[in-house]
Amino acid sequence: MRKKILCASMCVAMAASALVGCGSDKEEETTTKAPASDDADADADADADADADADATGGKVYYLNFKPESEEQWKKVADAYKEATGVEVKIVTAASGTYESTLKAEMSKDEAPTLFQINGPVGYQTWKDYCMDLSSTDFANWVADKSMLVTEGDGVYGVPYCVESYGLIVNKTIFANYFALEGRADTGCNSLEDINTFAKLKAVADDMQANKDALGIKGVFTSAGMDSSSDWRFKTHLLNVAITAEFNDAGVTDMDEIEFKYADNFKQIWDLYITDATCEPSLLAQKTGGDAAAEFALAEAAIYQNGVWAWGDISSSEGAKVTEDEIGYLPIYMGLEGEEKQGLCTGTENYFCVNAKASEADQKATIAFVEWVFGSEEGKALVKDELKFLTMFTTFTPDDAPADPLMKAAAAYASNTELTSVAWVGMNHFPSEEFKNVVGADMTAYAAGSAEWQTLVDNCIAAWAEEKALAAE
């Protein structure tokens, strides 16, 4: 009898624990739906929000952010939006180089992102089932240049939200010191403005490297780190210059197979990056994006290849010495024909997409959020001061351009009508992440001296064809 009672009570205990499990689950759910704020009046807040949600569209907004450098800023935007409208916006940021994997994982969840991002036509091929037609939305129509949209048929599936430029960020003070240096070699250049070809860039860089002790620098170029936090600067952005040139020669915007016509030019610039650098080429494999930003910020190096988004990383580096007025830009020269007239590389990899599989209410709420950010006065102010995006929406005037030293330097290039900027058309059509990784691995191996350059060229051509074929299946 005793045993029976024991057994029975165990059963009850077990059932109870199972039920408790259910109960706490439910509780969790409600808290995620209306996350409590830290304030003392959290409860009141949450209630009010829930009401506001229900009163408005009832939709939720979940943005999976691509740009790690603007994570905090997007959170501020979300807070401001909540204050203005009462609608909660969930912001999740994927770490550098993990956007695709994060997106795949998040999309499989019940609470999938309602707003996400593709990197252009190639990303669209992967995510087309999830991209809603945005042609009837205001923000798609705010894009001045309709050719920038990702379209299929009459539908608009990706809307670019910012234009970015990259090139060689230079420290003008170090260059001025170099040009004032006695006993420097005759390179035919007497100021930064004189450098307008690869030959001149190389001559100056080599001589600066020879005089690095006199200049107080560790190397001319910041470490071309091939850690995943930094390798995209080369396997994607640098390679883009060579591939875009090949596209331009053929007069196309995409190819099933490439010749890698400018492989030698690509090699020239890569050789320059890794020889006139702050560290031994064999160490590049472990160098991170933070390392390069810090070297530039501490004025240990004079040239840093990166885009207009990099100012935040530079200025926030510990002990940063570089000031806003010391910053300038040079285009990436790699010995291409007519490069004297070359500008910065300007384009976008950032296209907004709204999840086609989200509920209609969520889609509406998401579109309302985007239109608030890029259409309302308050939102636009945040874009200018916090996110620091140069957008291509007609709702923005030139006065709304962010005040950022790199943005300003890039804007000066853009307004120089004698120069032609390099489009991002090459990298927008790079077949896949795998292709970039193959090239990146060979670049690292070549730098470390463990592979021949020809391997890189062969693998690059082969991987391009294979990955394009895979996408076409």
Partner: protein, 282 residues
């Protein structure tokens, strides 16, 4: 009611909660995974049946077989090193020297640190050593390989040591005493008495090191990230990479996972049968 029927009646409420949890967290995903290996999909909730295509694609490129080979080499080396060192440590720490408990605790501690943390810590340690010669851990696949072996040893030795200590302590004192009286040398005692009697510990330790090395993922991701190229990419990481980094290859990754499961199951089972047969009753 018969006793038997009563037993069954009680059986249900006791097993049911665990069974439900096991179904939700293991059995259902397992079969869903097998189903998905025959599908083309981007996200798991929307898949299209394609038959055996994914399995064919695995062997079109060499990355899976490369990873399999690398994993096998790694597993063989780490099984030997981990078990040899763990057994030697266990022997040393059952000698009734002062402070054995402190040593045991310290040796066991690495096992409590998560793989990702461990990977990054060791990456920093090994890189700072290699940097003296201008080398990096990811510069050469051999460094990565031995780096992984070192991590595996550092992490697993303490755990295996505890199991061996338990085994050695269970060797009956009278048998050892009898051997001593018969004039057996310490080596003879070790190989003729201790090792045969701790065979059950070997069975469990070999199984644990085998399956842990074969399935290693987080240390691999954190320490070398598969670099250079994909040369230090082990099977589990290769599957993850195929799933999350490659486009249009999700089904192939799933097919790789199914093959991976079969390999691990077959090897693990074979090893269990093999070492079981060597176990003796004391």
């Amino acid at each position: 009611m018969t006793n038997r029927r009563k037993k069954i009646l009680y059986f249900i409420p006791f097993v049911l909660p665990t069974l439900i949890a096991f179904m939700i967290a293991f059995v259902i995903p397992f079969f869903q995974g097998i189903y998905l290996s025959f599908c083309k999909f981007t996200t798991v909730n929307d898949a299209k049946w394609v038959g055996l295509e994914n399995y064919e694609k695995i062997f079109k490129t060499s990355d899976f077989t490369d990873a399999l080979w690398f994993t096998t080499k790694f597993t063989v080396v780490s099984i030997i090193t981990v078990n040899v060192f763990a057994f030697l440590l266990a022997l040393a720490l059952t000698r009734k020297v002062k402070g054995t408990n402190i040593f045991r605790t310290i040796f066991f501690m690495p096992n409590l640190i998560g793989g990702i943390v461990l990977g990054y810590i060791w990456q920093a340690i090994l890189n700072s050593i290699l940097n003296n010669w201008d080398l990096t851990l990811v510069g050469n696949a051999d460094y990565g390989f031995w780096g992984l072996v070192i991590i595996m040893n550092w992490q697993m030795i303490g755990y295996m040591m505890i199991i061996y200590i338990a085994g050695i302590q269970n060797v009956p004192a009278d048998v050892l005493e009898a051997a001593k009286i018969d004039g057996a040398t310490p080596t003879q005692t070790l190989f003729r008495i201790t090792i045969p009697l701790v065979m059950p510990s070997f069975t469990i330790c070999l199984f644990l090191t085998l399956s842990n090395s074969f399935k290693m993922f987080d240390q691999n991701l954190a320490l070398t990230d598969g670099k250079p190229g994909k040369e230090t990419m082990m099977l589990a990481y290769n599957i993850h990479y195929t799933m999350y980094t490659r486009n249009f290859m999700e089904g192939v990754a799933q097919a790789k996972a199914v093959i991976f499961f079969i390999i691990v199951a077959v090897i693990g089972f074979a090893q269990l049968v093999l070492t079981r047969s060597k176990e003796v009753e004391s």
